[in-house]
């Protein structure tokens, strides 16, 4: 007597866990305040770095200040979902090492879902606000016309762009199923995201291929944002980015699940 668990079921469960989680978070106000402050600090620091760079160099690879700012805002928004919904990846290696991970395997639901549902990171919302503000500011200065179609494009491409970073972090986190002490992979991949806010035209040769198709940071902001920034001259890869995003996400999910199957749970 197997019960059917569809998308509706999962959405419902996620909502319920989220509500409970938020309720209990309210009781740790000090933590919330400090974490939010930390999030604002990182965003501010990123912004300061950006300003210092432009203080010294007026253009980068033909991109002026406002276009770069747009790209920056775009990357911040695209990086929000990975921060909000997939933050538990950071705990994966500790759980795997201590053997606590096994508890996610005893429920009749998808292990990946169950694991990720446990943490919703509210701090990511601060980043979202910061990103939207930056996009709007740059948008006004560049003078892109505001039409429903452009807005729709923006939303769709932001959403699919976010899948790339999720995929990168899934894979980086899942390495811990095979490699002990692989924590640094996650740290460095998370630092790679800082490069998503620069135009990928700066890369050449084999590394252009690597940063486009293997560690796809070029898709976190550059390619998808071209649909808005250069409407007359959109490269094929930009149009393909939603499809590629789905493929990358799916592959990372499969890799993560493969790790669960291959792992021998000796940590106990």
């Amino acid at each position: 007597m197997s019960k059917k668990r569809g998308l509706g079921f999962y959405a419902d469960i996620y909502r319920k866990i989220l509500i409970q989680d938020l309720k209990s978070k309210m009781s740790y106000r000090a933590d919330f305040v400090i974490s939010t402050f930390g999030m604002i600090m990182t965003n501010l620091s990123g912004f300061v770095t950006f300003m210092i760079l432009f203080h010294n160099f007026p253009t980068i690879n033909g991109w002026d200040y406002y276009h770069m700012l747009f790209l920056y805002g775009f990357s911040l928004v695209a990086l929000t979902p990975v921060q909000c919904f997939f933050d538990n990846n950071w705990n994966l290696r500790f759980m795997v090492q201590s053997g606590d991970f096994i508890k996610y395997c005893f429920r009749p639901v998808n292990v990946f879902f169950y694991f990720m549902s446990e943490v919703f990171d509210v701090k990511g919302l601060g980043q979202l606000a910061f990103g939207i503000g930056t996009i709007v500011y740059a948008w006004i200065h560049i003078g892109i016309p505001v039409t429903p179609l452009v807005i729709l494009k923006l939303v769709v491409f932001l959403f699919t762009a976010s899948l790339f970073m999720i995929a990168i972090m899934n894979i980086a986190a899942a390495t811990c199923f095979w490699i002990k002490g692989s924590g640094y992979v996650m740290v460095i991949m998370f630092r790679f995201k800082d490069f998503a806010k620069y135009p990928s035209s700066i890369f050449s040769g084999v590394f252009k291929v690597i940063f486009t198709f293997i560690i796809p940071i070029a898709f976190v902001a550059y390619y998808p944002s071209l649909v808005i920034l250069q409407p007359d001259n959109v490269p094929l890869l930009s149009w393909l980015s939603p499809l590629l995003g789905l493929i990358f996400f799916w592959l990372s999910y499969k890799f993560w699940m493969l790790g669960v199957r291959k792992y021998d749970f000796t940590g106990s």
């Binding site: 740790y28 000090a30 933590d31 400090i34 974490s35 939010t36 402050f37 930390g38 999030m39 600090m41 990182t42 620091s45 300061v48 770095t49 210092i52 760079l53 203080h55 010294n56 160099f57 007026p58 253009t59 980068i60 690879n61 033909g62 390495t175 095979w178 490699i179 002990k180 002490g181 692989s182 924590g183 640094y184 992979v185 460095i188 991949m189 630092r191 790679f192 490069f195 620069y198 700066i202 890369f203 050449s204 590394f207 690597i210 940063f211 560690i215």
Partner: protein
């Protein structure tokens, strides 16, 4: 302090680090890719600027500075804040306090093993690669000695900053928040993410006297022989700044720790 104990701690740390063998190779590889990213970004930046020297830094200087900053970052990296919060939550902190050594010294030396491994496996290879690739841009003289001394001081300052921040865990459970604030401030104001030479004049006036600069910027500036570090006065000023901060942070850190530790003895962890 018995040096045999300290060496034993270092040795145990080295063995523990080596235990994660694939992790070490992966770290090396990931670092390499990170360096490629840094290279392309700054190449594009310098190409766009039209001049070879910006704020006294050539492209090669900037590259050496940033790459070695990353290598230093790996070398200096400590997880004192995380470790402390975990051992507070599990109650292990009580055991650490019972060890026949002062906690501050014990923690420092239990990290020394991983410092040694990181130094040999990441810093030295990176340094050699940079030296060969840039073809003699790093002067081979007395500046190397200054660099090594400044790095040792940097290690102590970095640890002191960690030990300033870590006891906050005794007052709040927000480890992530504390750690990210610390990391962000250190990375930005120490020159690890962008060389301090690029900071606007007025900001530099302040940043120059903060302890963070003593962690990355001072050793690297000495290595490159910039900013007057090739003159006796310049050297004296920089070492003076490092030593002053070591003194201040150690005294302040000890006071804070003694105050914080009362919380454990009162609350029982």
């Amino acid at each position: 302090m018995n040096p045999r104990r300290l060496i034993a701690l270092t040795r145990a740390g080295i063995m523990e680090s080596l235990h994660f063998r694939l992790g070490i190779f992966v770290t090396l590889f990931a670092n390499l890719i990170y360096l490629v990213l840094v290279y392309y970004l700054w190449k594009a930046i310098y190409d766009s600027s039209g001049t070879d020297v910006v704020n006294g830094m050539t492209f090669t200087d900037t590259m050496i500075y940033l790459i070695l900053a990353t290598a230093l970052f790996n070398f200096l990296e400590m997880f004192v804040v995380w470790d402390m919060s975990r051992s507070i939550q599990s109650g292990k902190i009580v055991l650490d306090l019972l060890k026949p050594m002062r906690f501050r010294i014990y923690t420092f030396w239990s990290y020394s093993g991983s410092h040694v491994v990181q130094f040999v496996l990441t810093f030295i290879p990176t340094f050699i690669v940079v030296m060969i690739v840039t073809g003699g841009a790093i002067k081979m003289g007395i500046n190397l000695l200054w660099f090594v001394i400044a790095t040792v001081f940097a290690l102590i300052i970095n640890y002191s900053i960690e030990m300033m921040v870590a006891p906050i865990c005794l007052y709040t459970e927000s480890t992530w928040g504390i750690n990210i604030v610390k990391e962000t401030i250190v990375l930005l104001l120490s020159g690890a993410s962008i060389p301090l030479a690029f900071f606007p004049e007025k900001v530099r006036m302040i940043v120059d006297y903060l302890p963070f600069r003593a962690v990355y910027d001072i050793p690297l500036t000495m290595l490159l022989g910039k900013n007057g570090s090739d003159t006796p006065e310049g050297l004296l000023k920089m070492f003076g700044l490092q030593l002053a901060w070591i003194l201040i942070l150690t005294v302040a850190g000890n006071l804070f720790w003694n105050h914080a530790v009362k919380k454990i003895t009162v609350n029982g962890g």
